[in-house]
């Protein structure tokens, strides 16, 4: 049977840990955790050798060390992961022009119409796997292939590591039915226990339930679960530059855009926080301009070393200028009465809107030089690369901020499906 759509989900196996084992043969075959070696923070990735001990990503490092005594811990090298990730993504683009990167280590590929080049799904996935292995010098991926993003994603997780799972469209619902509700997209631990309390243990249990009942119990989430359990997921694979998020008729986009970083070390001084905000404002403004959006408000988020999140927000004259975002952020910063130390500094642009909101004139508006300068910097970056030209102010900031990987594209996904 011909497939109307062919969607692959490819996921690098224990990416950070595998990357470390790739680069250092002495680590191969050994239980290994990537994360902070100071014993604080969480496990970023556990190698497959460590997983039988019950450790996994996002587990507090201290707990992981208790579960798996003697495990090797190496600090993350994000630059290296980014480099490897870029190779992997480039390989994906050899297979399809439509690749949607979800994070450094996973992506959806729309393979519709490529059967004539790469063969049937199983063979296609096999070639993808081999190509990544060759391009990276030894990293493995797991691949799921089906006709929807959702089933492809569940598929890639089905036979990890280094596995391929092909689920033909006409078998998708039956195949899903055997999976646990923990495989439902959008069901976190809390929702899972709610589902189980209501008697839903497998996705098949959900497929068998009447829609009205699910909606009564879980609201709009119930409706989504119902669709997923019937292997329905209309989300397309979005390639580079394809807009995400719908605009409503008034031109305002729901949701926000944020740039936040968990810091390599906690910060206390206002100067250090400002350096992070400066960086974040630049990033956000660049992304706003590239998408022709304006921010109608700014939100600053600080997370204390004991994991309390504090936020302050304000509205502003719609803007896409880093200068304006930063001015607002600095004012908000003054409104925090928490001394710190802080482990995370974040800046968000909210009340996103289109150019139409510029129609209202402001009697005290003073836009001009800053915005124009930034637009020129955009062009320079585009031609000569990011960071080719910087403000003198940011040179000193660079010594304070160690540049972590750019994961902004992940944050853009934040409001998808909500």
């Amino acid at each position: 049977m011909a497939w109307a759509k062919v969607i692959a989900h490819a996921d690098l196996d224990a990416f950070y840990a595998s990357a470390e084992q790739l680069d250092n043969p002495e680590l191969r075959g050994k239980p290994l955790l990537v994360g902070s070696t100071s014993g604080r923070g969480v496990v970023l990735t556990a190698s497959y050798e460590a997983r039988p001990y019950g450790v996994g990503s996002a587990m507090p490092m201290a707990q992981a060390l208790r579960k798996c005594p003697g495990v090797l811990v190496v600090p993350p090298r994000f630059e290296r992961y980014q480099e490897l990730s870029a190779k992997v993504m480039a390989t994906f683009y050899d297979f399809s022009p439509r690749v949607e990167a979800i994070s450094l280590d996973e992506a959806f590929l729309d393979m519709t119409g490529t059967e004539h080049i790469f063969g049937p799904p199983q063979q296609m996935a096999e070639r993808l796997r081999q190509a990544v292995f060759a391009a990276t010098g030894g990293l493995t991926i797991s691949v799921g292939v089906s006709n929807t993003k959702y089933v492809a994603k569940v598929g890639s997780g089905f036979q990890k590591p280094n596995g391929i799972t092909v689920v033909p469209p006409d078998q998708a619902q039956a195949w899903l039915a055997k999976q646990s509700v923990s495989r439902l997209w959008g069901a976190g631990p809390k929702t899972q226990s709610r589902l189980q309390a209501a008697g839903y243990f497998s996705i098949g249990d959900i497929a068998a339930a009447p829609l009205a009942e699910l909606m009564e119990q879980f609201g709009s989430m119930g409706e989504r679960f119902y669709a997923l359990a019937h292997a329905q997921d209309p989300r397309p694979v979005r390639g580079r530059g394809e807009a995400r998020g719908e605009q409503d008729s008034s031109g305002e986009r729901s949701g926000s855009m944020s740039s936040e970083r968990t810091l390599t070390r906690d910060v206390v001084s206002r100067k250090d926080i400002e350096a992070h905000l400066t960086r974040a404002a630049d990033r956000l403004a660049r992304r706003l301009r590239s998408k022709s959006w304006l921010a109608g408000g700014v939100r600053v988020k600080l997370k204390t070393s004991d994991f309390r999140s504090l936020t302050r927000q304000c509205s502003c004259t719609p803007t896409d200028s880093a200068h304006d975002l930063l001015q607002a952020a600095l004012q908000l910063l003054a409104g925090f009465d928490e001394p710190g130390p802080f482990r995370l500094v974040g800046l968000a642009a909210h009340s996103l809107q289109t150019e139409a909101s510029r129609a209202q004139l402001d009697m005290f508006a003073a836009t001009g030089p800053a915005r124009r300068l930034e637009a020129v910097l955009d062009q320079v970056s585009e031609k000569f690369g990011t960071g080719a030209m910087q403000r003198a102010r940011d040179l000193s900031a660079n010594t304070l901020v160690k540049e972590p990987p750019n994961l902004d594209f992940m944050e853009d996904l934040g409001d998808e499906g909500s």
Binding site: S250, G251, E252, C314, C316, S357, A359, F364
Partner: protein, 367 residues
């Protein structure tokens, strides 16, 4: 502490004081009211550290003097829900407050009085007395134009300007500006400026009614205290520089139209229904003695209103946020309204002919 009273005596005070208490607090005690019974007077105080309101009344029967802090919202909710005319007693036993009325009995948790913060308002630089109605007018004519959560924090409030011969309020969010001026013979010379934060303005306005009564204002470096019979409100002032408002009030009224205020208000109201829900833009077309208001929305639905006006200038098209026009037309007290503009990219002056105590400036929208 123990006192008793009837429900109505304290109902309004409780509701007013409760208005100051924020729903989410940084300190637990800020969710509470400070209740003090002493020398035959009962006082209730609520605060959010920015605005503090104290009500005092002698119309309660104090059996035992004392003080305590009680949960504000719960106390007000209980009070409101009691039947009209109930008599109520409040008694503190250890760290509990017992509220009794008829066959109802409530035991509330208290927090230590020592934790309850008070705003230290410092000495006053200027003292003014004015009619309650005048102060209310100064607030209500402009407060709707205050900004909200604006990054230009000094706009999130209202300017109070006191000179030897007038008292003036100004509020603006950058899109529109409202100014109200009342003549006064104030003590002292020179000009004093203070920015009252948004919340202070709103709570103050709630406190004032139409009664013939003098209120006194004490303006210090960082605080404003307003006292009227039984009530005292203290608000912190916004530490910032308010924009030079007289620079944005247009002086060029080369094109000026006069219309019946209510007719224009209703036309705007109807046109607004089909304006863009978010941006609220309408197009005003001025021709000889005729104003046409046009609105359309993304669904391509359209409204057109024609209003007879006095206008003798040349043809002009200008866009505005219709909500701004509606709000101004709603608070102007005159039968007629005059709108003066110079061109489509400059601000418009809106005023009531013959009653110039309040004037409004609206920035246009690009069409």
């Amino acid at each position: 502490m123990k006192f008793s009273t009837d429900r109505e005596t304290l109902l309004r005070s409780l509701q007013l004081v409760n208005g100051v208490v924020e729903r989410r607090q940084t300190l637990p005690v800020l969710a509470n009211l400070l209740v003090v019974a002493k020398d035959g007077v009962l006082s209730l105080t609520g605060t959010d550290l920015e605005v503090e309101l104290r009500c005092r009344t002698g119309e309660v029967d104090i059996q035992t003097e004392g003080e305590a802090t009680l949960p504000a919202r719960k106390l007000a909710d209980i009070w409101r829900s009691l039947p009209d005319g109930s008599s109520v007693s409040v008694e503190i036993k250890a760290d509990r407050a017992i509220v009794k009325s008829g066959r109802s009995r409530f035991t509330l948790a208290t927090l230590p009085v020592a934790d309850f913060p008070s705003i230290e308002s410092g000495p006053g630089n200027i003292e003014l007395n004015m009619e309650q109605g005048d102060l209310r007018r100064l607030l209500d004519r402009v407060s709707f134009s205050m900004a909200q959560q604006d990054v230009r924090y000094f706009l999130n409030g209202m300017l109070l300007e006191v000179t030897g011969d007038h008292t003036r309020t100004v509020a603006t969010d950058g899109h529109r500006l409202a100014m109200c001026t009342l003549p006064a013979s104030n003590d002292g010379s020179g000009v004093t400026h203070a920015i009252i934060p948004r919340k202070g303005v709103i709570e103050l306005s709630r406190l004032l009614d139409e009664k013939d009564e003098t209120v006194s204002l004490r303006l210090g470096a960082n605080h404003l205290t307003v006292s009227r019979e039984g009530y005292e409100l203290t608000t912190k002032l916004v530490d910032g520089k308010f924009p030079e408002y007289d620079k944005v009030i247009p002086r060029d009224s080369s094109r000026s139209m006069v219309a019946d205020r209510e007719t224009l208000r209703q036309s705007c109201q109807r046109a607004s229904i089909l304006s863009n829900e978010k941006y609220r833009g309408v197009r005003l077309l001025l021709d000889n003695d005729q104003l046409t208001i046009q609105a359309n929305n993304p669904e391509q639905e359209e409204a057109e209103e024609v209003v007879a006006v006095e206008y003798s200038g040349d043809h002009l098209e200008i866009g505005f946020n219709v909500s701004y026009l509606q709000e101004i037309l709603g608070v102007l007290g005159t039968d007629q309204v005059r709108i003066s503009v110079s061109d489509a990219n400059s601000s418009a002056l809106v005023e009531g002919p013959g009653n110039e105590d309040a004037v409004y400036v609206v920035m246009p929208m690009r069409l």
